[in-house]
């Protein structure tokens, strides 16, 4: 095991994350399915992109009825992805490059093929009998909503073997674990220890609001669930020194997600689900209100905690956390073809959602990288990959990474018809047009722009740690905000509109300072007491570092005796 990157208790606050599916990234053995060998061989690409931490989707043994979120063995790697040794080599190679790795961990449920469930259903006397939530009736917990409304009618399924109903918040083949059972909690901690002992930097914990069920509740976000999660955090901090990270997937409103940070003693990070659709709304409406509104109503989080921001991920663009009216607008704006809808969401990738409009793609990436939180880039979105809405479920956004215009997009040497999913071939987003090789050689490509943006984000800790203060210019199409951390102040100005805009910003508090545009290192006119006028092209954006006039004279404390 190679040394992990230098310990820093809150490294995640500055990190740019990259979400990658092992099967989708690179095929090392030519069987048509991506694997750890392929991913390892592509680590230099990720290092060069500038990301800090990889989040890999479930890589465990699984029947793959839910793309690995149905785990059949927490202690092994799915054979199609390689062996445990391949995983270890990947992890060590990532660490050697200064990259951290967190892995998905499905805590809420297992596959119905998991030996725990098989034992539980067949032998009521086995130690696993109470590992799952069994009931003689399907009338309990009626207040709990059905999440996968397109496929599931109930959260209960009758098992003819045990002759009882088992509880599942997701697919029927994914029985929920019974976290009221101490043995389940101990077993899950052992699972975490197994991977942390190998050097893993943390977990993205899937579906955490649903661990515990109680009558008369909606069975989400219960205090008992939080108690379990705090217990896990306590053990991991104690045994692993405090720099492993736990990231919560809790698709909830901010005030509910807030609870998952506890008093800094539960999750380190949590996704900000409601922000994401509002970014798309703001750009389509060409007004800042949706973003300002949701962030204004986002409660403060403990100092050690951090939001995780994303534009797209491996699931549908979820619209659970919007109002019915907003959802109707989003469907109208982004999913006019019914094929594009899935559950309460839209199964499309970033570039096609934005009509492959380079300016809008860049603008959204600018927002992702500058709003408060740690950004996650979904694999392929850095080159503007497309999707295939005609593939079932969410497979359309999980197609092979497009490396080159060669056969199978350079993803695999396998026969075309043996790929786990077909590569994207449409004329706009197809691999012949959109691929890493071509964009690497094009200085102005989206890929190279992403590298520059990510590198620029490194220039100040205020991006990851700064406070957030919205400016309120009269022009509603401009979203402008100040981020401050220590002596670093950033001014970010985004034009949400598809036409050029002028804006007058009230920057009197910074009078005498000079904005320096970070990407081009261009010094703008100094700020005075009068409104600061800027003009932005269609979907333009500025990242300014605010240079204080006294900056050069501030003493370091070593000058007088330096020689």
């Amino acid at each position: 095991m190679s040394p992990r990157p230098p310990a820093g208790r809150d490294w995640y606050k500055d990190a740019v994350f990259y979400e990658v599916h092992v099967k989708a990234f690179a095929d090392g053995n030519g069987d048509g399915i991506g694997d750890f060998a392929g991913l390892t061989a592509r680590l230099d690409y990720l290092k060069d992109l500038g990301v800090d931490c990889l989040w890999i989707l479930p890589m465990y043994a699984s029947p793959l009825r839910d793309d690995g979120y149905d785990i059949a063995d927490f202690y092994s790697v799915h054979p199609a992805y390689g062996t445990l040794a391949d995983f270890q080599k990947f992890l060590d190679e990532a660490h050697a490059r200064g990259l951290r790795v967190i892995a998905d961990l499905v805590m809420n449920h297992t596959s119905d093929a998991h030996p725990w469930f098989q034992a539980s259903r067949t032998d009521p006397a086995s130690p696993y009998a109470d590992y799952y939530v069994w009931s003689d009736t399907d009338r309990r917990y009626q207040e709990a909503r059905v999440i996968f409304v397109d496929t599931e009618k109930s959260n209960w399924t009758f098992d003819p073997v045990r002759k009882a109903y088992y509880w599942h918040r997701f697919f029927g083949h994914q029985p929920d674990l019974n976290y009221d059972n101490p043995a389940v909690r101990a077993a899950m901690l052992d699972v975490m220890r197994f991977w942390l002992d190998r050097g893993l930097d943390g977990f993205r914990c899937d579906a955490v609001p649903y661990l515990i069920e109680r009558d008369g509740t909606n069975c989400e976000n219960l205090p008992e669930t939080h108690a379990v999660l705090r217990e896990f955090r306590r053990v991991i901090d104690r045994e692993y020194g405090g720099d492993r990270v736990l990231l919560a997937e809790a698709n909830q409103w901010p005030e509910d997600v807030r609870q998952y940070f506890g008093d800094g003693d539960e999750f380190h990070m949590a996704f900000h689900f409601p922000l994401m659709p509002r970014i798309y709304m703001a750009v389509r409406l060409e007004e800042r209100l949706p973003i300002v509104d949701i962030l204004t109503h986002t409660p403060a989080i403990p100092p050690s905690a951090q939001w995780c921001l994303f534009l797209r991920n491996h699931d549908e663009l979820t619209l659970e956390m919007v109002t019915n009216e907003e959802r109707a607008f989003m469907y109208y704006a982004y999913a006019q073809d019914p094929e594009m809808k899935l559950n309460l969401g839209i199964r499309r990738r970033l570039a096609p959602l934005l009509d492959n409009d380079r300016r809008r793609i860049e603008l959204l990436q600018s927002l992702l990288l500058t709003l408060p939180g740690s950004p996650i880039v979904y694999y392929g979105d850095e080159i503007g990959m497309g999707d295939n809405v005609h593939l079932g479920d969410r497979a359309g956004v999980r197609t092979p990474m497009q490396w080159s215009p060669d056969r199978n997009a350079g993803f695999s040497t396998a026969e075309e018809n043996t790929l786990y999913l077909p590569v994207i071939t449409d004329p706009v987003h197809g691999y012949q047009t959109v691929n890493v090789a071509a964009q690497s050689r094009t200085p102005s490509s989206l890929l190279n722009t992403m590298k520059r943006l990510i590198a620029a984000r490194r220039s100040s800790p205020a991006f990851g740690r700064g406070t957030m203060e919205f400016l309120r210019p009269r022009n509603q199409r401009i979203l402008a905000y100040l981020r401050q951390h220590g002596r670093d102040t950033l001014l970010v100005v985004n034009n949400l509109a598809s036409a050029s805009q002028a804006v007058e910003l009230d920057l009197r508090a910074l009078a005498g300072c000079t904005p320096v545009e970070i990407l081009g290192q261009t010094r703008f006119p100094p700020i005075r007491e009068t409104p600061y006028v800027l003009s932005l092209g269609a979907h333009g954006y500025y990242w300014f570092s605010i240079e204080r006039p006294d900056g050069a004279d501030e003493p370091y404390g070593i000058e007088r005796t330096a020689i």
Partner: protein, 420 residues
């Protein structure tokens, strides 16, 4: 050296008269000055006490070389109650307006005048003091002079008791570099104070005068020559060094450019002094060694890191010209966002400094720009040193500095292979 430039210009007639009255004189105390009226009485008092207590009966004189003071500094010295020679040297007006970090405009010319006067006075020892270092005591005089007086040493350089965050340019840059170049572990190669024997004086004056470079090379050249030619070089532990100056620059880029520029210039002009040197050894010392003090200090790591990040942002185009690709990669990989995890490896630092030496030699960038563009890197390295030693005692801080020196030494082949 192969230059055949003329030796020193003949001294003015009044200097001849002053010297005639004092020759021979065994101990010459040299004091270059520039507007030091406020502090020279303290210096002279320490000198008189030191000579009286430790060198009773020895003939001694003060030699003042003034750069054009307007505050009666030479007059004060003439009235100080000990034999005194007053000389002047030509200092560039620009250096009188912006006084270099060592406090003496035209220091090279001042030192050449002093050496000449000391030789004409037939001095056994020339001890050089700084006119604004007020912590000088009678023990300083004893420790500096004794080893030369007893013919054990030809050059005695100072070592001071300093706070661990004092002298960061010296400790992290100049001392490791000089150690690597000349093979001796001197703590203060730019200490400003030293003692030199008649033998070494004579040797130094035998070398022809070189055209001035606008930088003060004499201190370092004398040290390098003494080591290379087999003269005995010692170190004297003097205690704390307190400077009272209203004129010395405290502008970091200027200090660094002046001091490091001098090292780079000597490296170019006098390759024979250092190219063949490998390894290093400590020097003999008089006085009690003291580790750096570890009292709390108001040093801002955040500001230094901020300057380093601004350097990454603003100076990358210069660094691309100066640094080797692998060195630049190493610098770009430094993650200066979080002080808790931030490190600047010693080996990388050595390569950075050597790349700058090479860049200076080959003139890849205007030399003043090159030297000044090192400042954010130096601040980045200093921030890492402070961050790593904040919770340490003085001995641990000293051990950290020793590792820096060792890393420079280990990387010397990196420098020499590219130099040739």
């Amino acid at each position: 050296m192969t230059d055949t430039a003329p030796a020193l210009a003949p001294p003015p007639p009044e200097l001849d008269r002053q010297l005639a009255a004092l020759t021979p004189c065994e101990i010459v105390v040299g004091l270059p000055t520039y507007n030091n009226a406020a502090t020279v009485p303290v210096i002279v008092a320490a000198v008189r006490a030191g000579l009286a207590a430790h060198f009773t009966g020895a003939s001694a004189a003060l030699v003042n070389v003034d750069a054009g003071s307007t505050d009666r500094t030479p007059e004060l010295l003439a009235e100080a109650g000990m034999p005194c020679v007053l000389a002047r040297h030509e200092a560039p007006s620009v250096e009188r307006a912006a006084v270099p970090f060592h406090g003496v405009p035209g220091r090279d010319a001042a030192l050449r005048s002093l050496f000449d006067v000391a030789r004409r006075l037939q001095a056994r020892v020339l001890v050089l003091l700084e006119a604004d270092v007020t912590s000088v005591t009678e023990e300083w005089i004893e420790r500096l002079v004794r080893a030369v007086w007893e013919a054990k040493a030809d050059l005695v350089t100072p070592a001071y008791v300093r706070h661990r965050y004092e002298g960061t340019i010296t400790n992290l840059l100049l001392a490791p570099l000089v150690r690597t170049l000349f093979g001796r572990r001197l703590r203060q190669p730019f200490g400003g104070t030293f003692a030199v024997s008649a033998r070494l004086l004579s040797h130094a004056l035998g070398h022809p005068v070189r055209p001035t470079t606008g930088r003060d090379l004499m201190d370092l050249w004398l040290t390098g020559t003494a080591i290379a030619e087999g003269f005995a070089v010692w170190e004297a532990w003097l205690g704390r060094r307190h400077v009272e100056s209203r004129t010395r620059t405290t502008d970091l880029p200027t200090m660094l450019a002046q001091a490091l520029g001098a090292v780079f210039a000597v490296m170019e002009q006098d390759e024979e002094l250092w190219l063949g040197v490998a390894g290093s050894e400590p020097v003999s010392a008089v006085g009690d060694h003291a580790p750096p003090s570890a009292t709390p200090a108001t040093v801002s790591v955040d500001r230094m890191l901020g300057a380093f990040r601004r350097g990454l942002r603003d100076l990358i185009e210069i660094w691309e010209l100066v640094l080797a690709p692998e060195t630049l990669d190493g610098v770009l990989d430094l993650d200066a966002r979080d002080v808790l995890t931030y490190r600047f490896p010693d080996r990388l630092w050595a390569q950075v400094v050597f790349d700058f030496a090479l860049g200076h030699r080959y003139g890849v960038v205007h030399r003043e720009h090159l030297l000044r563009s090192l400042v954010p890197l130096y601040l980045g390295r200093t921030a890492a040193f402070v961050a790593a030693t904040q919770a340490s005692d003085g001995a641990e801080a000293e051990a950290a500095l020793e590792r820096v020196g060792a890393a420079f030494e280990a990387e010397k082949p990196y420098l020499t292979e590219r130099w040739r």
